[in-house]
Symmetry: C2
Subunit: 401 residues, 2 copies
């Protein structure tokens, strides 16, 4: 692609942040903006103008963006439920897609995403920014270099107290509220699963085979509403469907296991709990520590934590990912500690070079499917469900899908 | 019981430690010692004599201890597999029992333990020392006082790199080796489950309903043997049955969930990962932190961890359990940071006062059953299994079982 001309769809909180902190500062041309709420669409246009660029076309229907000949690339930052529909329409129109994260409530959608990509070969990138986190990429590098031995188990979580965002969902026109009232599943699996899937080579020699999800009861959000919004006539006494903590266990073809936690409606500090366990060592986000199987580490066993916690910094010089080394020397920019900047830089690079997308449609389908599968499993009290292979049997061939 | 006269069965590593650091320093009378290995039995006798006491009777058959009229209380610290057989024989002979921890590979054994207790009413205590840990008791106190709100989810693990102990099991006559070669399950669930069960009032108004366990492949111990014992003719090339990480999810009658991790054959630092989540707050061992739902904590959300980690100390003055407050003022003694001392003090007190045991036969049966159930579930790739109610329906009545 010679000149990338962006139609940006979905100008809520996330969309505004991406425009302001990443897309416009990277010098990209935004030719159209769109939101179903006209005020938000206008806000997007103003952000573009404030950056000294030409006013973009402004739409409230995503199909108008896709039909606009001034657009050749669509970025999707709408509510979860509409991501796939818009991405599929874009790909069919031959317009490259970068799609924000979220789970999928149906397997159909995941298949549709893959089938549309395979039929059209339109470039598609899944915007899983945590795959571009500094620690995630450092640990990926350590794993690829064999420092952690055979990787046997990984865990992570989306552990974020979102009670306020959810409880004020009607005031803020936020999609989480309606989903928490009606669904019970791991509704947001990709921030934790993405970096783990890269390390375990999911769809590139390995695949996820079965899943089991168990939800605790839903108490946190209801208690919050009683405390903080006792006079909200819509929410008062309403039952929340979404369990506070959803624990998901995944078995992979190579015998490794993945533990995912969705934990968004109880008081806690933010953490993705990224943990990688191998026969030679581990990384753990909770203590930001690398524990290697060397005599010095074994020696202080019981008091290792008090001596060595947060030692992962010591490994940065040697094991920071090349992308991050460059990023640090250029100067880290953009939101979420630079992850957003890097993911778009890589998306635009792949688009220009017609190179494989760093987070592709098979990644998207297999990670998003966790939501649909976990909803099935939770409804059956944790029953094991089979996970589809979206690569059509090509997962074991490695990188060349 | 007027005068406690102890027959101590099982003088391996744990038995010696208990005699030396707890039983003899507490001034208890040990009238018999026993181990199937004569040298270990003799070692027990010497420990008693070295403490300036009369030489105990020395046996290699546990039945001789139970038959000995000089013994009215039996302490069992043998290999896992023999615990229940010895405890049942003791209770039948009317001799009080304190039984060390470990899982049970069959449900039959768990039922037998309960049925024998109910038939004989011989005092029985399960030696789950972690129920007496300072933090565990502090968090129990906080939970009981409502500081954490409704408790919705708890997690914990037995996370201990035991590769050396296991791989040298033949040299050290240790029972873990044979079990790791033949079983695949959460073989040691009670250190993590015990304190959680107390907080969730299991068997006292709540009960565990279903369980699902998933094992990763077994790679850690085999890699260790290749590296460290390449010339061991017995172990070379031998397949280990026990997966490196076993993840167990339990659903309780009140809708709360429990996550347990067995993690003993990969390099790591020691941790029981004790975590309690309520609608008003959390405790987390990994960061030794209390996070409460108050505006100050919400305010720094993203950087809370770097500001507040290891803040649990600040809650000790107010929330240390009364037993621990007394213990600290008397001076903490004994192994495992004082837990062992306290559990035996409480056992002997209950025995003398004919009071309910702090960790009773229903606790033992329901916690030990996790091993048998997890083995069933792992063999079926994580299938959900039902958990028996060992109280015969009395769990919902509360404390008065």
């Amino acid at each position: 692609m010679d000149k990338i001309r962006i139609g940006f769809i979905g100008i809520g909180c996330r969309g505004q942040e991406l425009l302001k902190a990443v897309i416009l500062p990277q010098g990209m041309e935004v030719t159209a903006v769109c939101d179903t709420y006209a005020d938000r669409a206008e806000c997007g246009a103003e952000l573009v103008e404030k950056a000294g660029r030409q006013r973009p076309h402004v739409y409230t229907e995503y199909r108008d963006v896709i039909d606009d000949p001034a657009v050749n690339t669509v970025i999707i930052a709408t509510a979860w439920e509409s991501h796939v529909e818009i991405a599929v329409a874009s790909m069919r129109a031959g317009k490259a897609v970068a799609m924000e994260v979220g789970g999928s409530y149906t397997l159909d959608q995941c298949y549709e995403l893959v089938e549309t990509y395979e039929a059209t070969k339109t470039p598609f990138m899944f915007l899983e920014n945590c795959c571009f986190g500094r620690r995630e990429m450092m640990v990926l590098t350590m794993a690829e270099q064999g420092l952690l031995g055979e990787i046997v188990h990984c865990s992570g979580g989306y552990q974020h107290d979102l009670r306020k965002e959810i409880a004020y969902g009607r005031e803020n026109r936020h999609y989480r509220l309606r989903n928490y009232l009606s669904h019970n599943c791991d509704n947001y699996p990709t921030h934790d699963l993405g970096p783990i899937a890269k390390i375990l080579k999911i769809n590139h020699g390995n695949r996820m085979v079965t899943l089991s999800s168990t939800a605790s009861r839903a108490a946190g959000l209801e208690a919050y509403i009683r405390d903080v919004k006792p006079d909200d006539a819509f929410l008062r006494g309403r039952r929340v469907a979404q369990g506070d903590v959803v624990t998901t266990v995944i078995r992979c073809a190579d015998g490794s296991t993945i533990l995912l936690t969705l934990d968004t409606t109880l008081p806690r500090y933010y953490s993705r709990g990224f943990t990688v366990r191998g026969t030679k060592g581990m990384y753990e986000e909770a203590t930001d520590s690398v524990f290697l199987d060397c005599p010095e580490h074994r020696a202080h066993d019981f008091d290792w934590l008090s001596k060595c916690a947060r030692n992962a910094k010591e490994y940065e010089d040697q094991y920071d990912h090349p992308l991050w080394k460059q990023f640090l020397s250029d100067g880290v920019q953009g939101g979420h500690d630079g992850m957003d900047w890097l993911e778009f830089k890589e998306f635009f690079r792949a688009l220009r070079e017609n190179a494989p997308m760093p987070v592709d449609v098979y990644d998207a389908a297999s990670w998003m499917a966790v939501t649909a599968l976990s909803e099935m499993s939770v409804a059956r009290n944790g029953a094991v469900v089979d996970m589809p292979d979206f690569t059509g049997g090509k997962w074991h061939l490695g990188m060349g899908i």
